[in-house]
């Protein structure tokens, strides 16, 4: 197990290195630059800026400098938010995004798994159809629609929920709802189909033949197997909620990382692009490693190599 983890961590580090290298060269291929505005700044000022941030150097040299600094944990200074370092920006915004994404994942699991079970348990009956219709809607409605609808009804029309920032428990209601709708719906469907699949297997038939009650069969025997696909999904879901919450963060004015991730690209804020990409890659890779280890805990049949 220890050997396995070490191997996975080393592979993870290699993946991060490849992601960083590819991103570095790709972003420099995109036309435009960080110092673009409707009004051009004078050529002298542009050159001075390029010199200040080392953008006048050959790309390989810049790459080498960046990677050396990265190893020391220094992700450079933001090219657009003058005076702020990428480390500062990321580490002030990461907890906000993590908190929000974490709660959304918890909500999605807490609602999605039971709904999936109920649906599978009542297969073909009214409850099942009802839940499937809801889940399909949840998957089909993008977060920018649900966010705006929530904002419109609860923020503007009824004015019962606060709309700006995350300063109190009530502030979390709308953004968490908007973020959790899709994963909840997805988990519901995943859980349902997976449970139905497991329920058809021989060992369940054996359990029934032994005379066990349905409830015990589902909770003791079926769920442990059926939940595996859901756990696989949690890692990527957490990572994508953290950086993919651009729209939700924008609409509810949440100072999170998702906005930085998108705006750094449209602003060509090279150091921020690198910083946010590396953080995201690290998250996805870490989440996957953890999920792999969890597999082992849940399903002893799985051998870690």
């Amino acid at each position: 197990m220890g050997k396995y983890i070490l191997k996975r961590v080393l592979m993870g580090l290699l993946s991060i290195f490849i992601v960083a290298t590819l991103t570095f060269f790709l972003m420099n291929l995109v036309p435009g630059g960080p110092f673009v505005a409707e009004k051009s700044i004078s050529k002298a000022a542009q050159e001075a800026l390029a010199a200040k941030y080392g953008l006048d150097k050959p790309i390989l040299e810049r790459y080498a400098t960046y990677m050396t600094d990265l190893l020391k944990g220094d992700m450079g200074i933001s090219l657009r938010q003058r005076g702020r370092t990428v480390n500062d920006i990321i580490f002030s915004k990461l907890p906000v995004s993590m908190g929000l994404a974490g709660i959304a994942v918890a909500v999605a699991l807490a609602i999605g798994i039971p709904l999936g079970c109920i649906s599978a348990y009542n297969r073909g009956k009214f409850f099942d159809n009802f839940i499937i219709v809801l889940a399909t809607c949840g998957i089909a409605i993008p977060s920018f629609i649900s966010s705006v609808l929530l904002l419109y009804f609860f923020g503007a029309k009824l004015a019962i929920l606060p709309t700006i920032g995350l300063n109190s428990a009530l502030h979390y209601v709308m953004p968490v709802t908007a973020l959790a709708i899709y994963p909840t719906a997805y988990i519901t469907r995943l859980m349902r189909s997976s449970l139905l699949d497991v329920m058809g297997q021989d060992y369940i038939r054996t359990a029934r033949a032994k005379g066990l009650g349905t409830f015990k069969i589902i909770f003791k025997h079926a769920i442990r197997n059926a939940i595996l696909p859901v756990i696989t999904y949690v890692g990527p879901m957490l990572a994508s909620l953290m950086t993919g919450s651009f729209v939700v963060e924008k609409i509810f004015t949440i100072p999170g990382l998702g906005r930085e991730f998108i705006s750094s690209i449209s602003n060509r804020d090279y150091t921020m692009i690198m910083g946010t990409t590396i953080i995201l890659a690290t998250f996805i890779i870490t989440a996957n490693v953890i999920v792999d280890i969890l597999y082992k805990v849940i399903d002893p049949r799985i051998k870690l190599k």
């Binding site: 974490g102 904002l151 503007a156 700006i164």
Partner: protein, 555 residues
């Protein structure tokens, strides 16, 4: 049954987790101290998170709006757009227009309570010229000062700005006469910064309230990037604004990016004023003129189209004339842009001042009471067809298909689609090339386009700021328009005599209009929602809301 219990249990756990994860609630905004006539705080929205609040580094209008609230320049612009004494109580100009001497007010202070004098301004001006800092507006605001060429190469002491030994006066010597230098020193970029703070903290001094030392009516108390900036009344303020009228303790600036979020904040009463109004709400809003809360007001800017005059067929003035006159500006401004813009028939729009009166009024007077482009669209269209035929393309025959480049924001694509229709009338096919923002301006600047959307909002209220875009050497001359006659007129306008200055600028505008150097389409306006509760603030044609005197009466 058991499943239900389980669900209930899980949900209860989730709720507890949610509640415990969240912090304490913030105190509510409007309180009103007992006995005070005014509410303690007001909340407004004037733009998203500013990229920087360092006066020298800022180049955005929303950052500029913060700066006029936090800082005070040597001179300030009042409610009637007149230049008034700010940190300087008076100034004199030598006869040749080159030497400007500012006398400072007594008892000036920084927000940290320390003394402020002319030496701070000397440091500030030299810092702006420093190539190490790379201030985006450096050349615009200190480029006319003697010694700028040397200063911009690194020898900042070469900049001819000198504070007297006692710090009472500041003498600035210009390289050439600049009759509007009073407006330049009133520009936000010229706000003083404290040498000790800047040197101790580098660029980071302007990112944290602890090190943000300013000298205006308000200071920064809290800045949550991407969420809000809380400004607090500066008790150490001494300057041109009337301290008696600064009555609100805190101003909250909500840093909203999304217009529907801004609208929700306004309708729920959280914000008293919002700048970002969703365009889809505009038809349902009542204009202030009709007793409503939706305001539309002039700013000093023109939405125009650039044609690449170095490329055929745009090198032909007759073609440019045809493309110019085939546009129904009233339709574009009133229908496509929902009345949030004003149709533009001259390049220089309303609000721009002249030696006497308004520049646009005097331009009309010179031109027989008419704008350079007629307001009669039908006649224009007939003229356009005629001009195109004269250019050798009757009914557009033989005219190449042209490409119009624009980024996708605001009304830009809607305008592009209108142009497609309008030019079809001339028999011209226009393709739209939507370009992503960060690539768009470099493409336009490099001249890699045929026709492109363009726009300019003025930095200071002098027509030269916009007309100079058309001089052949200007970095923002995207159309690559080049006319020796026009360049000469602009050069002559750089004189000490105000009357002459404007005379030559009128001449320059006339030359560009006769050449159809570009296609003015509409004048920019600011449009915003403001609650009747918010009093004492005003909007200036620079695109700023002055909030120092803003108040809400306590209920």
């Amino acid at each position: 049954m058991n499943i239900k219990k389980l669900i209930a249990l899980i949900m209860a756990v989730v709720m507890v987790v949610c509640l415990s994860a969240c912090g304490e609630t913030t105190p509510s905004d409007n309180g009103g101290e007992t006995g005070s006539k005014y509410a303690d705080s007001i909340t407004v929205q004037i733009g998203p998170n500013p990229e920087t609040l360092d006066p020298a580094l800022n180049s955005a209008v929303d950052g500029g709006n913060m700066l006029i609230t936090l800082f005070e320049t040597l001179l300030i612009i009042d409610q009637d757009n007149k230049v008034q004494p700010g940190q300087a109580e008076s100034y004199t100009v030598s006869k040749d227009g080159l030497t400007w001497t500012f006398t400072m007010r007594d008892g000036l202070k920084w927000s940290d309570g320390s003394e402020l004098n002319a030496k701070d301004f000397e440091y500030t001006f030299k810092r702006i010229a420093d190539p190490e800092l790379a201030a985006p507006y450096g050349e615009t605001v200190v480029g006319m000062i003697d010694g700028f060429d040397k200063a911009s190469e690194g020898d900042t002491d070469a900049l001819n700005v000198k504070a007297s030994e006692d710090g009472k006066t500041l003498t600035v010597v210009l390289a050439y006469p600049c009759s509007y230098f009073d407006k330049i020193v009133a520009f936000g970029t010229m706000s003083p910064v404290q040498k000790a703070t800047v040197e101790a903290n580098g660029d980071a001094w302007a990112t944290s309230p602890d090190t943000y030392v300013c000298n205006g009516p308000y200071t920064i108390k809290e800045w949550v990037p991407g969420e809000r900036i809380v400004c607090e009344k500066n008790e150490n303020y001494v300057g041109g604004w009337d301290s008696e009228k600064i009555v609100t303790k805190t101003i909250n600036f909500l840093l909203l990016e999304d217009s529907s979020a801004a609208y929700a904040a306004y309708t729920s009463g959280e914000a008293l004023m919002i700048k970002d109004v969703p365009t889809e709400e505009i038809p349902s809003l009542t204009k202030a003129a009709d007793g409503g809360d939706f305001y539309v007001d002039t700013i000093l800017g023109t939405y125009y189209l650039s044609m690449n005059t170095q490329k055929a067929p745009f090198d032909n003035p007759l073609v440019r004339k045809a493309l110019n006159l085939a546009i129904d500006r009233a339709y574009v401004a009133d229908v496509i842009m929902q009345g949030t813009y004003t149709p533009a028939y001259n390049f220089m729009g309303p609000g721009i001042v002249d030696a006497e009166g308004m520049f646009i009024d005097n331009a009309k007077k010179d031109n027989g009471g008419k704008t350079y482009i007629s307001e009669d669209f039908k006649a224009n269209l007939a003229e356009a067809k005629k001009a195109l035929a004269e250019a050798g393309y009757p009914n557009g025959e033989g005219f190449p298909t042209i490409t119009y480049s624009t980024n996708d924001a605001g009304y830009h694509v809607a305008v592009a689609e209108y142009l497609q229709q309008a030019y079809k009338e001339l028999g011209i096919t226009l393709n739209i090339d939507k370009v992503e923002w960060a690539s768009f301006t470099p493409l336009r600047r490099a001249g890699e386009y045929e026709m492109a959307r363009n726009g300019w909002v003025m930095d200071y209220n002098d027509p030269s700021n916009m007309l100079e875009l058309l001089t052949s050497t200007n970095g923002n001359n995207d159309g690559k328009y080049s006319s020796a006659e026009f360049d000469a007129a602009i050069e002559s306008s750089k004189c000490a005599d105000t009357a002459d200055h404007f005379k030559y600028l009128h001449e320059a505008e006339k030359i560009a209009a006769a050449d159809y150097a570009n296609i003015p389409v509409a004048y920019y306006n600011d449009f915003w929602l403001q609650s009747p509760d918010l009093q004492g603030s005003w909007h200036s044609p620079y695109g700023y809301w002055y909030l120092q005197y803003a108040y809400v009466e306590a209920k």
